[in-house]
């Protein structure tokens, strides 16, 4: 332990200003503070500080994503097994296949994203912000598993540079960087982001090139690969309700399992890291529009189906609650969350062009969150002025 500290102290001067590797100061600092809580003491103001810092907050979000990630890895393999009828595959085959498919997504996401973070911290002379730890964890979970890695790299670069760094880094961005990555992919390479073949690992390649990691006898008869959103009717989905809750359905890597997401939600709410108000109001919004659509006959699915399909729950728990891009006022959070849920389901039910609306709903509400806050605050100030006048 002391040896490590001594080593760090020994190499530290090289990375200080004027040192040989001084230009890597932020990078060194990032690794050092990752290993050691720094010895900085308070200079002004409160002399003692809470032991929580952003690293701790971020690691809580990362931890809360672990169940969805693990399930996602398993499910990627499981869907591949189903698609190709690989009856001899056991648990470890499934997981191995999942790892082979998902790990590269993570490597690309973190290499590109953190690389850009480090460089821009270096340029601006800042400390490296922890924000990307969460974004990098989220991105592989919200893309189809077969997305080409170079596309992912470009999308990540776009989201981090244009979506975040140009605004000044974590804390200053308007849109959730992970969702921006997805939106970039969605609009730039639509063929890789929708349809029936992209959601199951290996199928696209098999269809195009006739090869797969382990193809067996080719695709099984009756393979559809469609996500529940492709045909959201009761007849289609009623038998699959439990599959959707457990998550054994095709879809983006991490979004399929309701149970895994709820485990994450539990951790986020338990630690108070994410706002329960946004989660609750988003679910309420989704249910409200879901049942409205059901009542007027636009869909024959009862409202609660909207919650378990597609990315609704994943978005509600992990993306809408991003503290930077969501509404900042407590009252604003209710409005913001409700509109996220309501808009997402509105797009699903009434817009035939987009089967899924969660991504766009959240990005749109990210855009409007400052406006919501503005009116909430104006209202509160006016109310107080009135109260003071009476008193």
């Amino acid at each position: 332990m002391n040896g490590l500290r001594n080593f760090v102290d020994k190499i530290k001067p090289t990375f200080e200003k004027g040192g040989k590797l001084g230009f890597l100061h932020s990078t060194f600092d990032a690794f050092e503070t990752f290993l050691f809580v720094p010895n900085t003491v308070t200079r002004r103001g409160a002399h003692v500080r809470d032991c929580v810092d952003l690293k701790r907050v971020m690691i809580m979000v990362v931890l809360s994503l672990v169940p969805a990630m693990l399930f996602g890895i398993w499910n990627v393999g499981y869907q591949h097994k189903l698609a190709f009828g690989l009856t001899d595959w056991g648990f470890w085959n499934i997981v191995l296949y999942g790892l082979v498919k998902v790990l590269p997504l993570y490597i690309v996401s973190y290499l590109v994203g953190l690389g850009i973070e480090f460089v821009s911290a270096q340029i601006q002379g800042h400390e490296v912000n922890e924000g990307y730890l969460v974004s990098g964890m989220l991105i592989p979970l919200i893309v189809p598993v077969d997305v080409p890695l170079w596309m992912l790299a470009i999308a990540v670069a776009f989201a981090v540079i244009i979506g975040k760094e140009v605004f000044g880094g974590t804390g200053m961005n308007i849109w959730n960087p992970a969702l921006l990555t997805r939106a970039f992919l969605f609009f730039s390479y639509p063929s890789k982001m929708s349809g029936e073949t992209v959601w199951t690992g290996g199928v696209e390649r098999f269809v195009n090139e006739g090869v797969a990691f382990q193809a067996g006898n080719g695709l099984v008869d009756g393979f559809s690969g469609a996500t529940p959103l492709a045909d959201p009717t009761l007849a289609n989905l009623e038998p699959r309700l439990w599959d959707m809750i457990i998550g054994t359905i095709p879809g983006s890597v991490g979004e399929t399992s309701v149970i895994a997401i709820l485990l994450g939600a539990f951790l986020l709410l338990w630690t108070g890291v994410a706002s329960w108000k946004i989660m609750v109001s988003s679910v309420l919004g989704g249910l409200a529009i879901g049942y409205l659509g059901y009542a007027v006959g636009a869909t024959d699915l009862p409202g609660y189906y909207q919650l378990v399909m597609g990315g609704f729950l994943f978005g509600t728990v992990f993306m809408a609650t991003d503290p930077v891009t969501s509404a900042q006022t407590e009252c604003g959070k209710w409005i913001y969350g409700f509109l996220v849920g309501a808009l997402a389901v509105t797009v699903r039910i009434w817009n035939p062009g987009y089967p899924e609306g969660m991504m766009l709903a959240i990005l749109l509400m990210n855009t409007f969150a400052p406006l919501i806050d503005h009116y909430v605050i104006e209202g509160s100030i006016k109310r107080r002025a009135k109260k003071v006048k009476i008193a």
């Binding site: 332990m1 490590l4 500290r5 503070t33 290993l35 050691f36 809580v37 720094p38 010895n39 900085t40 003491v41 308070t42 200079r43 002004r44 103001g45 409160a46 002399h47 003692v48 500080r49 809470d50 032991c51 929580v52 810092d53 952003l54 690293k55 701790r56 907050v57 690691i59 809580m60 400390e127 912000n129 922890e130 924000g131 000044g168 880094g169 974590t170 804390g171 200053m172 338990w270 630690t271 108070g272 890291v273 706002s275 503290p323 930077v324 900042q328 006022t329 407590e330 605050i377 509160s380 100030i381 107080r384 003071v388 008193a391």
Partner: protein, 451 residues
């Protein structure tokens, strides 16, 4: 009691080192300092020279802007040294105390027969006018003005704060005199806030001639700023004055005894204070005078005041004018391997639930001065609201201050806050933002632009 104000938000810092209620010693002052830095926005004018003889109550400094505001020596002795800082800024006037203390005689006065003008003149002449703080901005009160009301908080919720019931138990009569005097300076009365939890247990509820309020809640419920916010918020153009109990006692003594007598019981507290207890002393006493409370001053921080809002004065420093508390902390200048990644850090407290300290609510901690992280931008947005019992939007106010946007600062409530009110926000901030400094800069800007 019926109009008790219940504050749900707040946080009592669980820090070790409460002073036990006994007076360990009476400090015979050696060198004491008069510090113009205790007062915001003061441009001091030096009235004495090194070598001058002074009595307790002799003017040492005046306010350059309104020269009838005087600052007087708390002891009789000889001016030993005038300490200046950068750009010759006056920092301290050090006075070597005589063995026998002599006081300037301001004459015993009957407050009830005095007019407001006479009361003001007595306070100004004796150097007790600066004891009255004016809000907005927390500056020395303007003697020409008449405040909307005067506010006094009769309890303290600050970490390890001196117990007013113990520290001021002999001063009840003086406090009453001071209240009687101050009521003449305003039409709005003196608002006197008590803690509902020991309402009947505290002798302060017998203080007369005041408008009583009671508050229930954790820190910062005892901050007068929070109380004003709930009793009668400060609007643009209004001024209110605030006085601490400690200063009321001094004001009362002036009228009752004719002396400028700032002697007070000082709580020596903190995790690094050995057998924390009270001492009797004066503002301006040196930390060297309390050396029985620590073994060596190495790697210790001496704070005049509490851990949230006090001033780091150093081992050679002097107690501030308004303070009756010294907190001794260890400097946290050490590294902690993988600290943030450990499942739990049992020696550290966190108000957030990302650690497990909320499971042991009774536990107290040996806090040190480590920042526990690096400074970041505002990210988590609901942490401040949980410890700020005010109907304000702290992040918006802080951003307005950072942007030097006066209109927005006004709108978001710069008139109602001082640094101390947002100190807890700074404590809990996971982005380690220097919130009190931002407010200080914001207030400085307001003072510059509005006057």
């Amino acid at each position: 009691m019926s109009n008790n104000i219940y504050l749900k938000k707040g946080l009592d810092l669980p820090i070790n080192g409460t002073a036990s209620q006994n007076t360990k010693k009476v400090i015979v002052p050696d060198v004491v300092a008069v510090k113009p830095t205790d007062f915001r926005n003061l441009v001091p004018k030096l009235l004495v020279r090194e070598g001058d003889k002074v009595l307790a109550g002799t003017p040492v400094l005046a306010d350059k802007m309104s020269q009838n505001i005087l600052f007087t020596s708390p002891v009789s002795g000889t001016v030993a040294e005038v300490v200046r800082g950068e750009k010759r800024k006056l920092l301290e006037v050090r006075i070597k105390a005589d063995a026998k203390q002599e006081y300037v005689d301001f004459g015993v006065k009957k407050v009830n027969e005095m007019t407001a003008e006479q009361i003001k003149e007595s306070l100004l002449a004796a150097g007790l006018w600066p004891a009255i703080t004016q809000r907005p901005y927390g500056i020395i009160a303007d003697p020409e003005s008449k405040p909307k009301a005067i506010f006094v908080s009769a309890f303290s919720t600050a970490p390890l704060a001196a117990s007013p019931e113990y520290a001021l138990r002999d001063d009840m009569e003086h406090i009453q005199t001071a209240i009687n005097a101050l009521t003449k300076l305003t039409d709005g009365g003196v608002h006197f806030s008590l803690n509902s939890e020991n309402y009947s247990g505290t002798p302060f509820h017998k203080i007369e001639n005041v408008i009583q309020h009671t508050f229930t809640g954790k820190h910062p419920a005892g901050n007068v700023g929070i109380q004003i916010h709930h009793i009668s918020p400060i609007r643009k153009g209004e001024t209110v004055w605030t006085v601490s109990l400690l200063m009321l006692a001094a004001i009362g003594k002036l009228f009752n005894t004719g002396k400028y007598d700032l002697r007070r019981k000082i709580a020596v507290t903190g995790p690094k204070a050995l057998n924390p207890a009270y001492v009797e002393g004066l503002p301006g006493i040196s930390m060297k005078d309390i050396k029985e409370f620590y073994e060596t001053a190495d790697n210790l921080r001496f704070i005049s005041g509490d851990v949230l809002t006090g001033t780091n004065i150093g081992a050679e420093g002097f107690l501030g004018f308004f303070d009756n508390q010294v907190t001794i902390l260890e400097e946290g200048n050490k590294y902690e391997l993988l600290g943030w990644a450990k499942p739990c850090r049992p020696a550290l407290f966190s108000a957030s639930r990302t650690y497990f300290s909320w499971l042991t609510p009774k536990k107290k901690y040996d806090m040190d001065t480590n920042l526990h992280g690096g400074p970041r931008a505002f990210v988590v947005n609901d942490t401040y609201g949980k410890v700020l019992p005010m109907d304000l939007y702290p992040v918006y106010l802080l951003k307005a201050c950072l942007a030097n946007d006066i209109d927005k600062m006004e709108k978001f409530g710069i008139y109602e806050v001082l640094e101390e009110d947002l100190a807890l926000c700074e404590y809990v901030c996971p982005s380690k933002i220097y919130i009190q400094q931002i407010i200080t800069d914001g207030i400085a800007l307001m003072l510059k632009e509005m006057c």
